[in-house]
């Protein structure tokens, strides 16, 4: 069944090149999330796949068909849009039916598919209403239903949850994931929300400036970010990235940042570290140890003054002065009381959770 392959895709508008020599292969049944900040080209890539935009150069194949020059309706895709894009003058049933307009199907088959999608999405009581009479979440379901009735192999989602409120978003996230598990179809999902990406994707393609920065499973993206962009983009609060200098002496490697030495001897360097090399070290806020408690075999110990702290109910973050900047550490909300402004706290960072990047290229070392 359909494997979607992008080969050497270039998309430019006049002199502005939005996508640069992009290659990407999506396996059958995969839930691929295209993740990136606004303007990174992820929606452009999706529209190229849908056929709503034409590539400047390159080839797109779905299954064994070259679809680069096909019309959108002939590509065997279905798409869910950010604004739902329901036809306002048609009823829900009419919307679903129009989704099948390009397929010449017998009436019984159309009715049966609409009934199937309506049952699956629990929109049966809404079939005779107009979109204006539906709530945001219901409209979202109808939009998904309009895609489902086509029974295609590849579904495209363009930031489908960004117009919903936080609670509904969480619910719909689970439902889309459930649908994917049930239907086993390929999904390409565009979002700028890393939580959606981390929770739903089987693989994530992190994009920035028209280039895929990293392509891997959520665990890989989080655990082994390929470069500084991915490191800074994934994770909330964001990873602390600090410039440091490596010193290699007698089998020991240390990174010195703002007067603190971090032991990186056990770090899995991809290239051998050089003495005096400029690097950027990355410390995730959630990997810091408890304040004023010893961590066995730490990479480094910090003794830093508290700048401020914030609580979000289930979580708390303290910001500590480090050199001329701040580093964020996640703290058990029970313990946040210990972080008073101006106090100095001792915290340590464990071995094995550190990330080291080259200062010039930004690549993971």
């Amino acid at each position: 069944m359909p494997r979607v392959i992008f080969e050497d895709i270039i998309k430019s508008y006049g002199k502005l090149t939005v996508l640069k020599n992009l290659d990407l292969a999506i396996d059958d049944g995969e839930f691929l999330v295209l993740l990136g900040p606004s303007g990174c080209g992820k929606t452009t890539l999706l529209n190229l796949l849908a056929g709503l935009l034409d590539v400047t150069a390159g080839r797109i194949t779905i299954g064994d068909r070259d679809v680069t020059d096909l019309d959108p309706k002939d590509r065997g895709l279905a798409m869910v849009f950010q604004s739902y894009a329901l036809y306002p003058t048609k009823t829900v049933r009419g919307n679903l039916k129009f989704g099948l307009a390009a397929h010449k199907l017998p009436t019984a088959e159309i009715e049966q598919r609409i009934a199937w999608a309506a049952r699956l999405l629990q929109i049966e009581p809404l079939l005779d209403r107009k979109p204006a009479q539906l709530s945001g979440g219901q409209r979202q379901r109808v939009a998904i239903g309009r895609a489902l009735v086509k029974k295609v192999g590849v579904f495209l989602f363009d930031e489908p949850l960004s117009n919903l409120d936080a609670k509904l978003r969480t619910e719909m996230r689970l439902e889309i994931k459930k649908l994917h598990d049930e239907l086993k179809s390929t999904i390409v999902y565009v979002t700028h929300d890393q939580i959606e990406a981390m929770t739903m994707a089987t693989r994530i393609a992190v994009m920035d400036a028209g280039v895929i920065q990293q392509f891997g499973t959520p665990d890989e993206i989080y655990g082994r970010p390929a470069n500084l962009f991915v490191a800074g983009f994934i994770g909330s609060p964001a990873m602390n990235l600090r410039p440091a200098t490596l010193s290699v002496a007698g089998g020991k490697v240390a990174a010195r940042a703002a007067g603190v030495d971090l032991d990186v001897s056990h770090y899995g360097f991809l290239t051998a570290p050089r003495d005096g090399q400029s690097v950027v070290i990355g410390l995730r806020p959630e990997h810091f140890g408890e304040p004023d408690a010893a961590v066995t075999d730490p990479a480094g110990n910090f003794s830093l003054p508290v700048q401020h702290s914030e609580k979000t109910g289930s979580d708390a973050t303290a910001y500590l002065k480090f050199g001329d900047g701040l580093i964020a550490t996640r703290v058990d909300p029970e313990l946040i009381g210990r972080f008073k402004q101006g106090d100095t706290v001792n915290i340590s960072f464990p071995q094995g959770k550190l990330h080291v990047f080259d200062a010039q290229s930004g690549r993971r070392l």
């Binding site: 056929g51 959108p72 309706k73 798409m79 604004s83 329901l86 036809y87 129009f98 099948l100």
Partner: protein, 305 residues
């Protein structure tokens, strides 16, 4: 209702704590009222004279008091204007012109609405080669005065053997209104969210099916706006009807002018007034029936980007 504290009904017992000063009539509002009254009178006084005169007998008109109320009230002038008024040597009244106008109005409405809505839809929502150039030309055409192209058009239409026919006038109306109406439709359709069009492209991709099933049902308001504009301009048109209308195919406005101009013996003021009112009625009726949609249609495109 209970008066308990929990019932939640707020009772005003004492005077309000922060009474608001009542606004009196200021000098400024008097000035505005006077100005508005003058404006209203400017339109109403002539209308009053026309309406009252049309119900008067000629004897009363000859007395010269133009503001007096008609006594006795007579509908004779209206009947005469409709049935017997003389335009040139034919004395068949305005009804000939009325039916001519109707016969011009409908085909030309159908033609201009269909052509301009489809062109506007294509220009706004489909990738059309040279769309920008085409729009620019339309824009220029919308500003070319009819008088400039009148003579060439007459020669052209007589060459096509439609000069002096009802169809000739209808087609010329439709063609002349095309540039402006196409721009109106195009701008309205530009306001339709791109994603709806994208969804339609993925669902159907057929030019006509998307137009018929998705776009036309969404453009009720703009159709009414254009309908009103077209009905008014076609019905009120004089120059086109005069130059392109042959004997017996003249629209109502031309017949009206002839009725008023033709004088044998004394001028029948009551008949002329009745004739003018009869000619003005159809656009008014359209405004009254569809006026609400007209305002909606004008603002709908403006607010929703």
């Amino acid at each position: 209702m209970s008066t308990g504290l929990l019932s939640g009904d707020a009772r005003v017992e004492a005077a309000p704590r922060f009474p608001r000063k009542r606004k009196g009539i200021s000098g400024r509002s008097i000035a505005i009222l006077v100005f508005l009254s003058i404006c209203a009178a400017f339109f109403c006084v002539p209308l009053y004279v026309i309406v009252t005169t049309s119900f008067k007998t000629m004897e009363q008109i000859r007395e010269g008091a133009i503001f007096s109320l008609p006594s006795p009230i007579t509908f004779e002038a209206w009947v005469n204007a409709w049935d017997h008024a003389c335009s040139g040597i034919r004395c068949e009244g305005l009804k000939v012109g009325f039916w001519n106008s109707v016969a011009i109005l409908f085909p030309s409405l159908m033609l201009s609405l269909t052509l301009s809505s489809i062109t506007g839809y294509a220009l706004a929502l489909w990738k059309v080669r040279w769309a920008g150039t085409f729009l620019f030309i339309l824009f220029i055409c919308a500003f070319v005065p009819f008088q400039i192209i009148m003579i060439p058009l007459i020669i052209l239409s007589s060459g096509l053997k439609v000069y002096g026919t009802i169809w000739g006038i209808a087609i010329i109306h439709a063609v002349l209104s095309m540039p402006f109406l196409t721009l109106v439709f195009r701008n309205y359709y530009k306001g339709i969210p791109q994603e709806i069009m994208s969804a339609a492209m993925m669902d159907s991709g057929s030019f006509w099916r998307v137009f018929g099933e998705i776009i036309v049902p969404m453009s009720g308001n703009i159709f009414i706006v254009v309908l009103i504009l077209q009905v008014t301009s076609i019905w009120n048109d004089f120059l086109l009807g005069l130059t392109f209308g042959g004997l017996g195919t003249q629209p109502m406005s031309v017949v009206l002018a002839n009725v008023v101009i033709t004088t044998t013996g004394e001028a029948a003021y009551n008949e002329n007034m009745a004739a003018a009112l009869l000619t003005a009625i159809p656009p008014l009726v359209i405004y009254f029936i569809l006026g609400k949609f007209f305002v909606q249609g004008i603002t709908a495109g403006a607010i929703k980007g």
